[in-house]
Amino acid sequence: MTACGNRFLERLAGILAADPELPFVYLRQNDAYLTVTRSELAGRMGAHAAAWRAAGVGEGDVVFIILRHGADAMPAFLAAMWIGAVPSFLPFPNPRQDLALYREVHATVLRRTGAKALMAEPDLAAEFLNLLGPQATAVLAPPAVGCTALLPPPAAIAEEGAALLQHSSGTTGLKKGVVLSYRAVLAQLDAYAPTLGLDPRSCVASWLPLYHDMGLIACFLLPSVSGVPIVALDPFEWALKPQLLLEAIGRFRATHVWMPNFAFAHLTRGVPRNERYDLSSVAMLIGSSETNRGHTQDRFLARFGSHGLRAGTLQTSYGMAETVFAVSQSQRGVEPRRIGIRIENACVFPGDTELLSNGKPLAGVEIKVLHGGRMRSEERIVGELCVASPFNFSGYLGSGGTPDRFHRTGDIGFLDEGEVFVLGRIKDLIIVNGRNIYAHDVEAAVNDVPGIHPGRCIALGVASDRTGSEEIVVIGETSAPSPDLVAAVNRAVLAHFGMPCAAVELVPPGWLVKTTSGKVSRERNHQKYLIRAAHADATP
């Protein structure tokens, strides 16, 4: 057993050394599965470790990785940790994004974080090199295909030190790096793993991108140090062929799957009906990263129950990057509890609004509700959920100071019978298909569109029953509405975020409701939009 004083790296070393010919990951690429064994991963990690070191990367250095789905993302990340650096995945540019804008935003992130190095695909690396110039950040491409090297002993990094960064999805100035220590990551894995029942037959199947906290922690690092093989699909390919996940589950007898609520809806709608799938191996199919909805899970089960999926396998979890990942988890083998509620004066009473429980907090987690300026421990009081745990983050990179013991999540919810229920958010955050988009970033992008009156637009996150997620709706005031202006607004949002609006509503000047202080009111305009949409639906 390798002893370096860091239990995460020691566990990883133990996994790589034990049964080196066991599969580490089944990687789908080019319409086939590439099996990467533990020894092959170690060899590739050795090559990556050498590449990082050759770029001047050492202990404590922040490094970024922008790679396509492929054989290099995982070893690049693990090798950076192995030599004591602090890695972070950033999303590979979506083909529909404005590439110049993408490079500019991410170059800003690299400069601001003082990143020591960036590993990117060769074409992207060359572009970043041109943009950044001969500055402090080294830009490198992955080692040549097939190149391997002996993996040196892991660095002796104190567990209080930073292990990795996770990034929020904001744009300039808002892309905040969440610093997670080894202590926090280990505490998360130790608290979360027992709720999952992982054993030698377990297998995780995932289409989630690795820059996403659920993809990174639940579907990559957790199985990596638990000796559980991973089936890794390309997120872009999965979006077009959602049945790939079901085929992978059957082929590799996958037992654990995590995905946001929208993915349950996408699979229900998008998988061809004439195919049979064997989902009998699934022990837990866990919804997280956006609001879990009971009817979405019901439709999923109705669609795939005849393919071997059992009711108790559909599970829920609540988590966020600032707590590494999971804060709570529903009980394995048991359907998450549903309750009908109504809310009066911030108190929860029996009623007609159905909510799905996110399970009980993990061991060591303390949840309080901030209401009326006080932290409350009572149940059925609605307020901002605040979380203290052994795995809370160390702060945002460069922000200085230590975060409060209770992290204010920005989510509104309550506790009932010790379980976590989430109602919505107080932050101006729109979660689209599990991805966080800040409304004011969208508004800033739309404000620059000629024809939209400056400062007279608003972005809303509107819940969609059809997609099982939220959708971006932009309402902009203009004196000259036209189809071209709708397209221009949509293009602006697409260029910045790689995803379009669900709707662009052009309204006459004065339509948007302002607060008494003259600001455009998000809440009141949201209500006004919903009333207008309901009226439009009701009009024949």
Partner: protein, 83 residues
């Protein structure tokens, strides 16, 4: 009704854009709601509407609606050609 007209109806229905005006030069980026997930449902709607086989990734590579209309026309012609 031309293929472009029918395409317009499918696009309006799929992406829930009742006021969408479709032209050959329009691209996916011009259409609110046309994301990578809904792209799959557009293809399913097109297959059902025109009774032809179309792959989601080949549509994703097309530059504009005009090219999509041409692809549909080509598939319809192939379907009508014996043998």
């Amino acid at each position: 009704m031309t293929i472009l007209d029918t395409l317009g109806a499918v696009l309006r229905r799929t992406f829930r854009q009742p006021n969408l005006v479709v032209s050959r030069s329009m691209s996916a980026a011009d259409v609110p709601g046309w994301d990578s997930l809904n792209h799959l449902f557009l293809v399913m709607e097109l297959e059902a509407e025109f009774d032809v086989d179309i792959a989601a990734d080949e549509v994703a590579r097309l530059p504009d609606i005009g090219a999509l209309a041409d692809l549909v026309a080509e598939r319809l012609a192939r379907k009508d050609t014996p043998g």
